[in-house]
């Protein structure tokens, strides 16, 4: 039997995906999988996740990386403007040991917020974009085993896949927090309120930031009210 926390996280993710599909913000998706990978070791992943490594190469052009991921359907969800979400969690002995929560925007299409009307109305020539966008991926990683005080915060945010960019984060992120983060900062518009329609928070992870790390500029994951 998978640990309670893992089941909660999977349910959280499933509910979120259903809600985003219903709103027409997610165009394509893979079912979340919860499986045992060792003694007392479980992971939440998705079909196609075996290709996730193509997104980790050092010398791969972002354009190519994105198309490899999209082409192999290596995502938890594909958003309305081609942005990809990947959510993966690992558990051992009943608690979280790792997570990898990534957002890869499309290098070809204009970001949703530039023209939400055309996106929502499925305009025919939406893909005709002349300005080359400078899209950058972002990732919230949590890794207990690799952590080193200040140098490698347990939970950190990496922007644009920049080497050594590990902005400390106060606690691991639930799917609910991660998806809200992406929607709020890249999709929400004054006319289209995506965030408040999201399903309620179901879980909180305990803080993992060290005293030294919290003296630096860092990202705080609030404790949500659980309903």
């Amino acid at each position: 039997m998978p640990p309670r926390e893992a089941r909660l996280i999977k349910e959280d993710l499933e509910r979120l995906l259903a809600s985003l599909i219903e709103r027409g913000i997610v165009d394509d998706q893979n079912f979340p999988l919860l499986r045992q990978v060792g003694r007392e070791a479980y992971e939440i992943t998705f079909e196609g996740a075996e290709h996730v490594a193509v997104g980790m190469g050092d010398d791969v052009d972002y354009d190519k990386m994105y198309h490899d991921l999209a082409g192999r359907r290596c995502f938890s969800a594909k958003l309305i403007d081609g942005g990809l979400l990947q959510l993966m969690y690992s558990f051992k002995g009943g608690h979280l040991t790792k997570h990898r929560l990534a957002y890869y925007p499309s290098p070809d299409l204009s970001p949703f917020r530039e023209d939400p009307e055309s996106y929502l109305h499925d305009a025919l020539f939406l893909d005709i974009v002349s300005r080359r966008i400078v899209p950058f991926p972002l990732r919230f990683d949590f890794d207990e085993s690799a952590a080193r005080d200040v140098h490698h915060p347990r939970c950190h945010l990496t922007l644009g896949d920049a080497k050594g960019c590990r902005i400390p984060v106060s606690a691991p992120l639930t799917p609910r927090w991660f998806i809200e983060f992406v929607l709020r900062h890249f999709y929400q518009t004054p006319q289209l309120d995506l965030v408040s329609a999201l399903p309620a928070h179901k879980h909180n992870f305990a803080a993992t930031i060290t005293a030294n790390e919290s003296k630096l500029i860092h990202v705080v994951v609030p404790q949500a009210a659980i309903t």
Partner: protein, 716 residues
């Protein structure tokens, strides 16, 4: 006159070709099909186009080696070579071989009209002929043991376009009567092209060629194969195939590759035959497009979708505005292409076709395929005389005349069975629509030329096909083959169903799709769900998608970004949901049209929404379900029931010119400005009504004359 049909492909020997054609036309005892510049033959030494090939039930296969001028060269060797190669090609067709013997005889003739005394130089077994001696030479050939069936098989093998259409992936079926098994049998039967399609592929016109056809008549495949044929014939030509939805790109590339491999044994050279978007944007080969290339070559300012929408007042006119502006500004556009083929031309403004025309080298080989009824933009394409404008003397630059090679109509419909196609037409035209109060007809729209009905494959059953006359039209077995509908009961092929609410409709749909994939042996990609209004497709399809997702049934929305131009993801089983734009050019066994009630509005835009319904229904290869709720759906259901009672025949009074004009005005789509003005006026009427209801304005406050005129106008 003989009974030989000519299919004029391209062989770079125009004089000898013309003379051969005339000579063959005069022979009385010969029938069959004569191809010029066809077939192409792949050999280890490269590819080969045969100058002319006659397939005749009397003579068998006769290959012509054409010689312009009097230099014959080593014609005996050429004849041997051609005959051997064609024989090798035909031997691959098992149905043409008995034991080790090839059944149809193959003969070769060198046709050299400039040689005066061919008999004198003819060596044994290697005939040379000119115009006068052709009859004598051919009289020496006989096809012993010919039969109609064998002749047809030989012809199919020569055309050899058959294998290209075959399905993409295998299907596993266990029950012979499941929907999956039915679909498999259907797909196998429609894998071949028909004669008219093959002709349209091969026939090459120096100038503009128009291909019209019903949904499902194979316009897209004809265009693709035509591009491939021209590319194999003229590897150095720059050829563009262009369209407006990304979802078509993959199909084009697949068809072109299949044709080139089969015909020439070589992969197409994609730098020469280019499958590109009509619009295009910077960012490399993959994103290139015709309009973008035009701007690049002429130095004109390029607009992308967003900037054009802002500059030219709205997304509907964006592309037209951009093309018009570019054409006006560029005085002397360079000639960039040898041939351009445009698919779904009904969705483009004339300015785009003019732009294509402008960048073509003489003789301006522009081929455009269109289907008036699939026009979703509201404005229909004018005749070519109007599209391309006039020369300095006021003569139209392009006129198709009566030449059937220039104006091809594909009348056979292979995708949709008769009940589906006639349903689409009946609803698209509003044949059985109840006339609105005060109107003499319920028709939504109608062809200006009654004769077009026959050209698209209908037969007159009763009445007269003339304006102002009652007419009853039906499909023929020829144009809508029976096997397409014999697989299921008609009541199962087309179903209209009304629900009390959208939620009820959605719940039913989820159950049906579950049944389709779990019991009916349909593959996920056999199913498309279409919401006809592109503007609301996303939000309205969302709840159905979410419900399926929660039941573990994978599905996706065909978006702007359908990656790698794959509309259906064959490797990952997933049910396709789509708005009408992205559904175009695609097909599936089971089609659900949801919220169909929105295709029954009144007044402006009615023609447009009916075209959406038409396009949605005609996506179906086997079954279609049109569902919805409310009074709009009730009316559509009544129209459909009427059609059924009329045995899927179209029984109506053909509108007179006056009525046609009125229809065009009443049901046309409005420009955004017009729509705004109309909304304002409606708002004022609503205000008046409110004032009257509240008693803030009494009827008596209006002067008697105004009151009387209002009453009269409103009760019309």
């Amino acid at each position: 006159m003989s009974n030989v049909h000519f299919i004029r492909g391209d062989n770079a020997k125009p004089v000898a070709t013309q003379l051969l054609r005339e000579a063959l036309s005069k022979l009385k005892d010969i029938s069959g099909e004569c191809f010029f510049g066809y077939p192409l033959i792949a050999t280890s030494e490269g590819k080969y186009a045969i100058d002319a090939t006659l397939v005749s039930p009397e003579k068998g296969v006769v290959i012509f080696d054409l010689v312009e001028g009097s230099e014959l060269g080593d014609y005996a060797a050429r004849q041997d070579d051609l005959a051997n190669k064609l024989e090798a090609k035909l031997r691959m067709h098992k149905e043409l071989v008995k034991g080790r013997q090839l059944l149809p005889p193959i003969q070769a003739v060198t046709f050299a009209p400039a040689i005066n005394n061919p008999q004198a130089i003819t060596q044994n077994e290697y005939p040379v002929a000119n115009v006068d001696s052709l009859a004598t030479v051919l009289s020496g050939f006989q096809w012993q043991g010919a039969s109609e069936a064998l002749y047809q098989r030989t012809l199919s093998a020569i055309e050899s376009l058959s294998s290209i259409r075959k399905g993409l992936s295998k299907r596993d079926t266990h029950r012979p009567d499941s929907r999956g098994a039915i679909l498999k049998r259907l797909e196998d039967s429609i894998a071949t092209l028909d004669r008219r399609q093959s002709r349209a592929v091969i026939e090459t016109v120096d100038g503009v060629q128009r291909i019209r056809g019903l949904a499902g008549s194979g316009k897209t495949i004809v265009l693709a194969l035509k591009a491939a044929y021209l590319h194999t014939q003229h590897p150095d030509w720059r050829i563009a195939v262009t369209f407006n939805t990304r979802s078509l790109k993959g199909q084009f590339r697949r068809f072109i590759t299949a044709f080139c491999l089969e015909q020439s044994g070589e992969e197409p050279d994609w730098t020469k035959v280019r499958v590109v978007n009509a619009w295009g944007a910077p960012g490399g080969e993959d994103r290139d497009g015709i309009y973008y290339e035009f701007c690049r070559a002429t130095g004109q300012e390029f607009y992308d979708f967003r900037t054009a929408s802002i500059r030219f007042q709205g997304s509907d006119c964006a592309f037209d505005g951009a093309c018009t502006a570019a054409l006006q500004a560029a005085s002397d556009p360079p000639e960039l292409y040898d041939a351009i083929l445009v698919d779904e031309a009904q969705d483009f403004a004339p300015s785009f076709l003019r732009l294509c025309y402008a960048i073509l080298k003489p003789p301006k080989r522009l081929v455009y395929a269109y289907d008036e009824l699939q026009n979703l933009s509201g404005a229909s394409l004018p005749p070519p005389e109007d599209i391309f404008g006039k020369d300095a003397q006021g003569r139209p630059l392009v006129s198709l005349g009566e030449d059937p090679c220039r104006d091809v109509i594909l009348q056979k419909c292979y995708r949709n069975s008769r009940p589906i196609l006639v349903t689409a037409h009946a609803l698209g035209f509003g044949i059985y629509r109840e006339p609105p109060k005060g109107s003499e007809t319920g028709l939504v729209q109608m062809f200006d030329h009654p004769a077009l009905w026959e050209e698209i494959g209908y037969r007159l059953r009763e009445g007269r096909l003339e304006k102002g006359q009652r007419v009853v039209l039906e499909r023929t077995d020829e144009t809508s083959p029976r096997f397409l509908e014999d697989h299921s009961l008609i009541d199962d092929i087309v179903i209209f169903k009304i629900f009390n609410s959208e939620a009820e409709q959605n719940a039913w749909l989820v159950e049906q799709i579950k049944k389709n994939v779990q019991e009916d042996e349909l593959r996920y990609d056999d199913i498309i769900v279409i919401h006809p209004d592109p503007r609301t497709a996303r939000e309205r399809l969302g709840p159905i998608r979410a419900a399926l997702y929660e039941q573990g049934i994978q599905n996706h929305l065909a978006g702007v970004d359908t990656e790698a131009d794959v509309f259906f993801k064959t490797e990952a089983p997933s049910v396709t949901f789509t708005g009408i734009y992205r559904a175009k050019g695609n097909e599936a066994g089971m089609v659900y049209v949801v919220n169909a009630q929105e295709c029954d509005v009144s007044g402006p835009g009615l023609a447009n929404v009916r075209n959406r319904l038409f396009t949605a229904i005609t996506r179906s290869k086997a079954w279609v379900r049109v569902v919805g709720h409310g009074p709009g759906m009730e009316r559509l259901l009544r129209e459909f029931q009427q059609l059924k009672q009329h045995d899927f025949r179209l029984d109506f009074t053909y509108p007179t010119d006056a009525v046609l004009n009125k229809l065009r005005i009443v049901h046309r789509d409005l420009s955004p400005q017009e729509r705004q003005r109309l909304d304002q006026k409606r708002g004022r009427a609503a205000e008046l009504l409110k004032d009257l209801e509240r008693g803030e304005l009494m009827p008596e406050d209006l002067d008697a004359d105004t009151r009387e005129r209002l009453i009269r106008l409103l009760s019309r």
